[in-house]
Symmetry: D2
Subunit: 286 residues, 4 copies
């Protein structure tokens, strides 16, 4: 599986997010404490908003811990909203087009987890992608197909509803093919303004997901931590694994729920897959 | 498009095929005289038979002319049957899974040309691939989908018939989507014993394809060329572009035809696409 | 050899420099008209000033024309001073540490040309590098050693004098080893404020070098060219090959001279190598 | 640091060495039990003897565990003598020219360990390399300089004496620069017939090194292990970490000693650095 982080708040130098924290994503790429795999060396990606109409994407198949270009980019770009992802392949090839985050227009998407027995269900899932979106699928991962299913079901209008329908479809197709627990996931997606973070798995035992406590609270508790002084009160991190030991800094997102980091009050709500109303075509195996 | 060569005959060091000839494939990767593009620097691949049950594959996204590992492999491996391909991308990403040759069991496949307006027809073509083969498609090129269509239509039993049906389907789907000249191709495929080389295009003006004259004849005409003395009478090269100036050494494969390099007498026959008997599902666009 | 450009002026999106012009550097990487090699596919690099204390560096061994990360970076970063370089290796390995520009503190350096018979003279040249700078040499090219010689001779204080001494040393060492024409070069270097561009060769027949005419003049002559309207009067390009056909837009830098793009009046002056005052140690060959 | 293996014996498919053992080198690249670093993902290399005058080299900067070309090569090449190495960089760039094994003519060399404070001592060490060999140094690691020092001191005539002198020089130069424990090493080198394996460190606490017990003994003890039945009695493995749990299969090479795998009786002898007779030039720091 993988590790990821999503940041929203005061513009920060990307290296502050990726390299500085004690348990930074780069450190996790070599030694993850909570991940299903301890090494996440099968490529990485960063997506950031700033200059330009769409978010920038930097994705590479080198291990993140030694990538000179990632270090340069991170040291020379500021952003108020950034995604970062390190990959441990669950089977599909290590290539740039399989690295997260995935992008469609102004949207980014990243996933930690797996669509189980993907080779068996892939054809039926791909067929459910809107034909007008189909040509944009250029990689070979479960995560990218998942993204295009969510887009098919309205990710640009109502992200939680779209993800619930996409997961509903994945579970229906998986079940039809005899897959026990079709999906395991944490997902982050954004339109460049809000961030939605989902935690769910068919078996009810999902990959970890945390969000940072309010910066104002943290700043009060930890006057000694310099970087906190520079961040606005609205700044938030959502991560698959805490980046530091700061007591009281990290809250776990509960099972089967999603959070929204947005202007105004953030939200935390229950997540429940929905079978899409139109029927699903299932290929008979064997 | 691309450049390729196929060799069958006495076991030769692969570097004799790739680096030694005056207009070798490596030289062509920098400056092709006959190709649609003059530079073919978007990856390459070599497939060879020898040790092991299946052919070996070495594919890389670096330009072939500077790849140290290709030089090493070529200098240390002998083979009686080898394919080599240099790529100039017609749009799909430069990644290892998009490099030719493609492999299925003991079969290799490589293609120079294009399925025109592939993004528009890809979904219908992919749907026509046998569902049991579908999960093996791991790249994103037209050439790989073409290979899996040929496999679907019986490439392992009757290569010319299978390729004629695959091309028939591609032309039918293309025409249904309003594509003027759906396919342009030279293709080489092998089972490790015989080599089939196809030359065809919907518009009747196909990429170049040449095969070498019999070694016995060449040896008589050119006693001064050392390497010819070492090759058996049965040795043959099929190439998208001649590798040298040897007068009388290269014959062009005629339009809409295919050749077979095989034990016994080689053959040259007409090629005509056939619409597969079962109907084709067409996605309505717009 | 290579192709390069240096830009100074109004902050521009880097893609405007790299991809938009008719004969852009990316186009030149596939088909250079004036270069010693027609293909420059052995790596590339971009250095830019903006966010951060030192310039950012993005260097890669993929051909520039197909590098997705270069496209992303160029589309999402603005800079008032940028260097870009595409490489055609003259022998040393294609690896990131051999890609230009090279960096030391806030300085960038790039070179088109060659130190002739570099393997024969390399040891003596490397020995002349200041021991405190020596550990920073991490690649294996002539161009990087040339940079460190210039640093040794005072590049940070007086760039023209330092380059003249470095070239003087290279010619002295080359001559001592019996090399006919020890150096061929165009060089660009910058401290983040001014740009120095040098054109010289031992044989008096140097690689081409051009600088753009004043934007004010161009704007008057070409009211139809949109991008000119947005650039400040001070904006300048120095290039190894003109990027477009705009009549009157490009002036050739004369043989054995250098130009300075700087605040206030730009300058064009003669360049003459100087043998460094301290003696040079020469290894006796054979 | 790194992990490595050296094999000599009956020709084996390389994948039998790299992928099949329970604690294979590929498994160690993700999770090493005994290494100084647990992940060795900074490039790898394989050197093998067989076809061709010199050994073949395949080196890559991708992590070994996911490299498709390594899998292909390993599955299609047999060799009676092979070296393999996985790298965890101790600072120098991750690039092909820094991957082990290194080659000179028919010689291979690989190293696990470090020349301490290499940036401080590198210049003096490089100066001690024979000027005729100097141009062959194309990477930037301590290990390659160590190889060229050994070549300078006669590696091609008397490997143990040459390595003892090279280590003597490294310790002398290190001490002159105030480096506490100048070298930590296990080294393997071969001429294509014999293999020499060294274990030494200035502090007397060296990286682990093991050699396999005689195949005849192993075969008797373990009739159930299939691959042992196919190997000749002379077959031997030297490894930085045991590849399996076979009781009695692995002997540790003692501190400050070296072994020779050769035709006839293998040997195990003490290793003691010797200061080269000619004086060493030391750069005064500061």
């Amino acid at each position: 599986m993988c590790r990821w982080l999503a940041y929203s708040g005061s513009p920060v130098r990307i290296e502050e997010l990726l390299y500085r924290p004690k348990h930074s994503l780069i450190v996790q790429s070599l030694h993850s404490d909570l991940g299903a795999e301890t090494t996440n060396g099968d490529g990485f990606g960063v997506g950031w908003y700033g200059t330009g109409d769409t978010p920038g994407l930097f994705r590479s198949v080198e291990p993140a811990w030694n990538d000179a270009n990632l270090r340069e980019l991170a040291a020379h770009v500021d952003s108020p909203l950034a995604f970062a992802h390190i990959r441990a392949s669950s089977g599909s090839p290590v290539q740039q087009t399989n690295c997260h985050p995935f992008r469609h227009g102004r949207r980014l998407w990243m996933h930690n987890g797996v669509i189980r027995e993907f080779p068996r269900v892939k054809r039926d899932l791909v067929l459910a992608v809107d034909p007008s979106l189909y040509p944009e699928i250029i990689g070979s991962t479960d995560s990218e197909v998942f993204f295009f299913l969510a887009l098919t079901f309205g990710l640009e209008d109502d992200p939680p509803a779209a993800v619930e329908r996409a997961v509903g479809l994945i579970e229906e197709v998986g079940t039809a093919h005899g897959v026990a627990h079709p999906i395991q996931m944490t997902v982050a997606t954004t339109d460049g303004a809000s961030i939605w973070g989902f935690r769910y798995s068919s078996e009810g035992s999902s990959r970890s997901l945390f969000y940072s406590t309010s910066v104002a609270t943290l700043r009060e508790q930890h006057p000694e931590v310099a970087v906190l002084q520079e961040l606005s009160d609205e700044s938030r991190l959502v991560v698959s694994e805490p980046l530091g030991d700061l007591a009281g800094a990290w809250n776990e997102v509960p099972e089967s729920s999603y959070g929204v980091i947005q202007e105004g009050q953030d939200e935390l709500r229950p997540f429940a897959p929905k079978v899409p109303s139109r029927g699903v075509a299932i290929t008979r195996s064997g």
